[in-house]
Amino acid sequence: MPRREFDPGGGGAAPWVFLAPLIAFAAVFFVIPLGFSIWLSFTRWNPLGTPSWVGLRQFEYLFTRDGDFWRSILNTFVFAFGFVALGVPLSLGLAFVFSRARGKTLWRSVYYLPQLTNIVAIAYLWQFVLDDRYGAINRLLGMVGLAGPNWLSDPAMAMVSVVLVMIWYDAGKNMLVFSAALEGVDREIYDAAALDGASPLRTLTSVTLPIIRPAFIFVTITSFITGMGFFALILAMTGGGPRGATEVTALYTYQMAFESLRMGRASAGALILFAIIGVLSILQFRALRGRE
């Protein structure tokens, strides 16, 4: 009797049996919720009652009549771009500095600590620090005769505050990715660059950054996606205020769903955000890859 060879591409039920748990997991936690959300976006549904089909009216309302939705989209871009534009270079800088520092493991651990802390606790901690009247920062500024800004009650400063806290929270994670990439650079390349007389800046721009470009692409895109969809920190820290200045789209749709009980419209808003993030991520990925 000939011995049967394993054929992963062959027929039979075995591959499906082994894949079944993964397929079931994906179906239950990704495909069905996404499909339900898409269907909901064409309905009007207060979860106390039953959904009624309204076609494209939720999208029409959001696109044509809901000024707050468009303002939340703008806030989302400001938050995400601020987070990426300041956070990614900071993470890279920290990784670069610590790769040459004594006790780098300790430093990396210290900067990673916020990631181990509950995001709501972080929000409350920074509320105390940034409080306009009683906060530590403005108290310290007051002691040297300076009037600190209204960190949380001025609309522009509130956005700055949540971006900075988000960077503080997330910098350690991205720093670790950059650190791993930097550790992977062959020392001999640096030696060769030094022999060729390359300055430290030239070494950084012509050697280090091109080599760690995959890590840079990964961090930039994942940070952008995180920034576009993140709202837990903002919910706990400002609640979207003052006067909607920090209300990002994810928070707006959350409040629409669970406070205003408009599940259909919230689903439509979430799908629009999903589409924006998807398109921009693809464009970003292509642009960054294309420059390799």
Partner: protein, 416 residues
């Protein structure tokens, strides 16, 4: 040989039996009070046994209450008895969440509770439960700060409030307000600015909606006047939006328009100076002042298999015990919260100086019920944002209220 189908059969049988088991379990009463706050009520529930029907307490935090109810109902796990904030009631009734009480219980409520509070539990002329906690807004003053500024009694007019607040307000060397004459409360729901606005509008004889809720009345002269008064305090540097009335217990705020439930926090903050330094007085809008009251009421879930037993329990919890306080009355009394239950009011000791003005506002029909309009939470969120924008000086009251009126009527049009 073991039968492989046996575990599946056992699980199936258990699932089928679950609803039957649930029917034999205790009636569930879901409220937002913590276990400590609800201790007297929980004692009543623990002791309850009506022909084998028992009861248990379920705490749901206030912020998560409606969401928990929604998800619980979707999962078929709703409690039997709710403690409903009146502004949620219209939606719950519209979607068939609440059961109608029996006529005898409705009569018990109509006979034994203040009219405005009964209205809070009434939607389209139908009563949907038994009122429990009532909250009323009044002017709360830090008399130590007012006396320091040469003012011996709380103001009774808006001009008086402006003068007193201006006298109290002090800035530090950096120009930041150190002591505020007046403050609005910051709250995620927007109640900190919306509820005082209601009080000012009601005091001027205005209203926020037409009687049938088909129209918003936010572009009326009364509404513009009310918002202009609030914005004027910031415009004239008497206060600003970085000052939070919830910091009143710390002692740096002269006056605020606040509900009675904040008493315990103020008491904690002022300590021994509370009786001497904290005064509660009328909304400072002259002799015709009015204010806002809102209420919670106990309702029964329409999906409950034991509605009749649940209503019996609701009545038991709200009926006087041997001439003394009801179970709910005992709990609310311990919290320093108000009730509109006449029997409990008669059985309570005379209210303290802080609480008395709130009670009198209820007794004298000065306190007008918060409108039970559909999408109330959404509408009040929109109001709060508009009011804060105007108060901050980023918009004029007239055009801002005109826009708000249109947006609110868009929502009303969906439902009325």
């Amino acid at each position: 040989m073991p039968n492989p189908a046996r575990p599946l059969v056992a699980i199936g049988t258990a699932l089928i039996a679950l609803p039957a088991l649930a029917q034999d379990g205790p009636l569930t009463v879901a409220m937002h009070y913590t276990q400590d706050q609800a201790a007297p009520l929980i004692a009543c529930l623990d002791a309850y046994d009506a022909d084998g029907v028992t009861a248990s307490y379920q705490q749901i935090s206030y912020g998560d209450y409606l969401q928990t109810v929604l998800t619980g109902r979707l999962a078929g796990q709703s409690p039997d008895i709710y403690n409903v904030y009146s502004i949620w009631a219209a939606q719950m009734v519209d979607n068939g969440v609440l059961a109608e009480p029996p006529e005898a219980l409705a009569q018990f409520v109509r006979d034994g509770y203040g009219a405005a509070t009964v209205d809070a539990a009434t939607i389209d002329g139908t009563l949907w439960g038994v009122p429990s906690e009532v909250s009323v807004y009044m002017l709360v003053s830090n008399m130590a700060l007012l006396r320091e500024a040469g003012i011996e009694t709380p103001p009774t007019t808006w001009d008086g409030l402006r003068e007193a607040a201006a006298a109290v307000t002090a800035r530090n060397d950096q120009g930041r307000i150190e002591t505020a004459g007046f403050a609005f409360a910051e709250s995620s729901s927007g109640a900190g600015v919306v509820h005082p606005f209601y009080a000012l509008v009601f005091s001027q004889g205005g209203d926020v909606y037409s009687d049938d809720y088909t129209e918003a009345m936010l572009d009326t002269p009364e509404a513009q006047e009310a918002l202009s008064r609030m914005a004027g305090l910031v415009e004239d540097d008497i206060t600003d939006l970085s000052i939070d009335a919830y910091d009143f217990p710390a002692g740096g705020i002269g006056m605020m328009i606040m509900a009675n439930w904040y008493e315990s926090a103020i008491r904690d903050g002022f300590g021994d100076r509370f009786d001497e330094d904290v005064a509660v007085s009328q909304i400072p809008m002259g002799d015709d002042w009015r204010t806002l009251q809102y209420a919670f009421f106990m309702g029964v879930d329409s999906q409950s298999d034991r509605q009749e037993e649940a209503w019996v329990l609701v009545r038991h919890l709200n009926a006087p015990r041997d001439g003394g306080l009801s179970c709910m009355g005992e709990m609310l009394d311990g919290l320093g919260a108000l009730t509109a239950n006449a029997a409990d009011l008669a059985a309570q000791e005379a209210p303290d100086a802080f609480t008395r003005p709130f009670v009198e506002a209820l007794e004298n029909d000065r306190a007008i019920g918060q409108p039970n309009v559909m999408q109330a939470a959404e509408i009040e969120g929109m109001m709060a944002r508009t009011f804060e924008t105007v108060i901050a000086g980023d918009a004029e009251p007239g055009p801002a209220l005109q826009d708000l009126d249109t947006e609110v009527e868009d929502i009303l049009f969906e439902f009325y």
